[in-house]
Symmetry: D2
Subunit: 311 residues, 4 copies
Amino acid sequence: MSATRYTYLGPEGTFTEAALRTLPEAATRELVPMVSVPAALDAVRGGEAAAALVPIENSVEGGVTTTVDELAKGEPLMIYREVVLPIAFALLVRPGTKLKDIKTVTGHPVAQPQVRNWLAAHLPDAVWESSASNADGARLVQEGRFDAAFAGEFAAATYGLEPLVTEIHDAANAETRFVLLGRPARPAAPTGADKTSLVIWLGDDHPGALLELLQEFAVRGVNLMRIESRPTGQGIGNYCFSVDAEGHITDRRVGEALMGLKRICPKVRFLGSYPRAGVAVDDVRPLRPGTTDEEFIAASDWLAHCQDGRF
Amino acid sequence: MSATRYTYLGPEGTFTEAALRTLPEAATRELVPMVSVPAALDAVRGGEAAAALVPIENSVEGGVTTTVDELAKGEPLMIYREVVLPIAFALLVRPGTKLKDIKTVTGHPVAQPQVRNWLAAHLPDAVWESSASNADGARLVQEGRFDAAFAGEFAAATYGLEPLVTEIHDAANAETRFVLLGRPARPAAPTGADKTSLVIWLGDDHPGALLELLQEFAVRGVNLMRIESRPTGQGIGNYCFSVDAEGHITDRRVGEALMGLKRICPKVRFLGSYPRAGVAVDDVRPLRPGTTDEEFIAASDWLAHCQDGRF
Amino acid sequence: MSATRYTYLGPEGTFTEAALRTLPEAATRELVPMVSVPAALDAVRGGEAAAALVPIENSVEGGVTTTVDELAKGEPLMIYREVVLPIAFALLVRPGTKLKDIKTVTGHPVAQPQVRNWLAAHLPDAVWESSASNADGARLVQEGRFDAAFAGEFAAATYGLEPLVTEIHDAANAETRFVLLGRPARPAAPTGADKTSLVIWLGDDHPGALLELLQEFAVRGVNLMRIESRPTGQGIGNYCFSVDAEGHITDRRVGEALMGLKRICPKVRFLGSYPRAGVAVDDVRPLRPGTTDEEFIAASDWLAHCQDGRF
Amino acid sequence: MSATRYTYLGPEGTFTEAALRTLPEAATRELVPMVSVPAALDAVRGGEAAAALVPIENSVEGGVTTTVDELAKGEPLMIYREVVLPIAFALLVRPGTKLKDIKTVTGHPVAQPQVRNWLAAHLPDAVWESSASNADGARLVQEGRFDAAFAGEFAAATYGLEPLVTEIHDAANAETRFVLLGRPARPAAPTGADKTSLVIWLGDDHPGALLELLQEFAVRGVNLMRIESRPTGQGIGNYCFSVDAEGHITDRRVGEALMGLKRICPKVRFLGSYPRAGVAVDDVRPLRPGTTDEEFIAASDWLAHCQDGRF
């Protein structure tokens, strides 16, 4: 029954599954690993699943381009939740394997830059070969194809391995951000600590277009939290921008900024308004004076009075 | 009966009267000269007159500060029409006076810079003394107090004088702009070639405030036609700005810009939306793409769809 | 001998003379009153005087347009000093005159708005007629032409009058700013609390030109203290801007902003860099990070290294 | 001998080798394939090679993150040339293989999105597995591990394969941009059609920082051709920007913009000024008025005159 099924980027034992299990409702859902981000999303688009959890951004490697591009160009989906997970790797081995025995290591290509320094220091002669996922790497170790795999410590049990070293991460603060995607519907009500995600296309050949895009936000006091350029696929030099802004689409300042973008940009896609992970209402940056809903409403009343000559 | 009475900055025979007579309805109104701009306006505020015509801007001398300050700080009035009149002076004398006889000349202080070069060239030894108005100067010549007065050629007959020299004006393109003021009411419908007048106060001590003010217009594609700073009377360094913008308050782009100003500025006063003098609809600068009413409405519809999750 | 002669806007007994006497060097100069601002300035241009003190801005009435326009359009002069004087009027009468005896009052037109409320409250029936200067009004009272004159209290002695009422000023904080003008020369060294005056012409028909002008300042962190629009005399809608900016022309950020204006505006006139009146170095607003001379020099060194490939 | 050795991202038979061979000097260099971008670059840093050619941007997949991050964070290198190559794949098979025989296909992960539609249409049941490079995929076909590989047609001969289908590319205009990197040195003289590459770090927690970054370019009339965000590795929400701007570092407008960035941003890295691939001088967008070298020099002369009081 699709309403109780959530897909995620599998296989089992990945960080994505760990992220999904942080959501309270995960306990009562059927969690289905899928072989790729497109597969996880297509299950939602096709109605076989209610939602999909996939990674969208990695603090070391940047955007997860498949997810970003699927959201920009695929059949529309909406973001309902985000989960941010600190990323630390464990070196998983078959029971009994010692560090000096390790000749070959594997892991997802995204893991490599996060463990590169550790490898150079502790296993300088080990040969790295990429696997399709961290969990897949663990499976290949289980099967004997590699001596060790970098994966989440939680994956050890699933594959009958043991963590030889834990908490490996080259960059401090390594995190991955995941999003829970569903079919478009009315966004949840604002919580006071929300973000709004968009994809914005720029006109072909207008050098100031990005500056104008940013000014639509700035003039309404809407802060950007993330901006990531993506090629449109129309040739070198054509970009769209994946953007996260502070606030909720029902906030007046956010709504007016979105309308401004809609008017001046060839295409804008709304990806959802949803609670910011790990940010309490009290931690939200104060609004710039003149940009609260109350001030927007007061200005609208004033305009109506002016238009009627009542002042 | 006040509904048929228009006041104007007198006395009779001034450029203001000439400007007023260019309005078609002037033929059926009682035209009453007043001794000062405040007097002309107070008659409207008090209900004794339906409207007042006063000068507001002079292309040589700049803003007519009494009018600008009355509109900014006095009891609210609204601009319903503007009249732009080319300004050229005649040298009015008692019949028979010759150029070589002229030892003393008079005229309004505003006239002086417009005839300074002519005086230096043709009457270098004549002594100038200011009069309260150009027409008043003509009267003083009639009474024998001065030998000649600079005034509009149309004033000669009223005061029994003759124009000795005509078309005197130092600056080419000298013009004065006059406004017809009435009590606040619903502005006339847009004609397609309109302007909107405002007075905008800036916050006390914020160096970027003027830039932000201009960006509220720029981001909505609203062009400014005039911006004039005026002291607020709160000490050196405190200004408000008298502004004319292209467009009508019922244009979406103008309305949104006004609301933006209302939100970020301590005070905004709407002075009216009215047809631009001497500008046909076909002469209006094309709108920047993305700023037509249709585009504003389409963006608003799109936002509503996004907020409802219907896309 | 011109090097010791300072002209000022006369006659004797005006606020301008009072302002001039606040300058320490005034004690050793020959102070010569002139009949008009142009006359005071022409004496400097012609070499008959070393400097001229004239009013340039009034916190109630705004710019003194003759001075502003002379600096913008006349033969170049430079501002070397500014003096700011609080303005309060005394009502000067012939000895023995009582308030109830006063039927006619006079004063400079600029004085009128500053005493209007006082007049309405205390002499509602008195007839006002403007005089050429406040001091001239005092002289006319001395001669019996008027019953009372508004002028500075210091003018009483000069004209054999007595101050019947003092400290009259409708607006709190009424001030006039005066400038000491000389022929162009190298500006005095920066004091740390300086301002730079400019006149900037905008291109004819470019709606965003004023915004671009302001951005040349903003991007280099140069705050504007005053901006006043003036007609160029080329017809309604053509303006130049008289601007005071914080800082000295030898400050890197100011110099780069001036060069930016010079490049994008049809005409820029430098009017001088000079100490701010009444502002101590400690009271100056802190510079925006990245805009100190040290940071400009470090950036210039870095650029040279990049251009040489040494990094 | 290092001066004649160029490394490139291998193995032989990749698009990178094809791009390198478009450079005239390639004919007289020893061309050495390396196993990774870091390996190719480290050979240059260590002095074993004079230059390295690596991909930096793909019009379908976006930035080649390893290259972008190496340039941002590794030991400094400089870009001396760029090469843009249209990307079209051939399906390489062992001689005699027919389309209906193909059960497994391989290719570089970056190739997959460019052939996805073609695969879905012509080989819907084939299983895709990624290989380390397109050429590596060809080798694996040669060895019998896969039935077909997507690679450049030029790779067929090297691996004893034949192109079964050619000109496969889902997106029209698919291109890859490659850069030739060397140790820092004085950039080549401007050609009139140049670009300048930078990496710019933004301050931690300043929402308007990106807008300010863009304004440093905009105010000097410097157009941006590409802007790509990259995580700094300091946690979600910390970005640096990889930027290509029109013009050469010795152009005054570019130099002033770079100095502006240097002053306001915590870190800026210059990556080189070099000729734009495939753009003739006549095709370059005209400069904005006020931003030519001549205008910069004239403004600088004017400033010196003002500072000396000679005007």
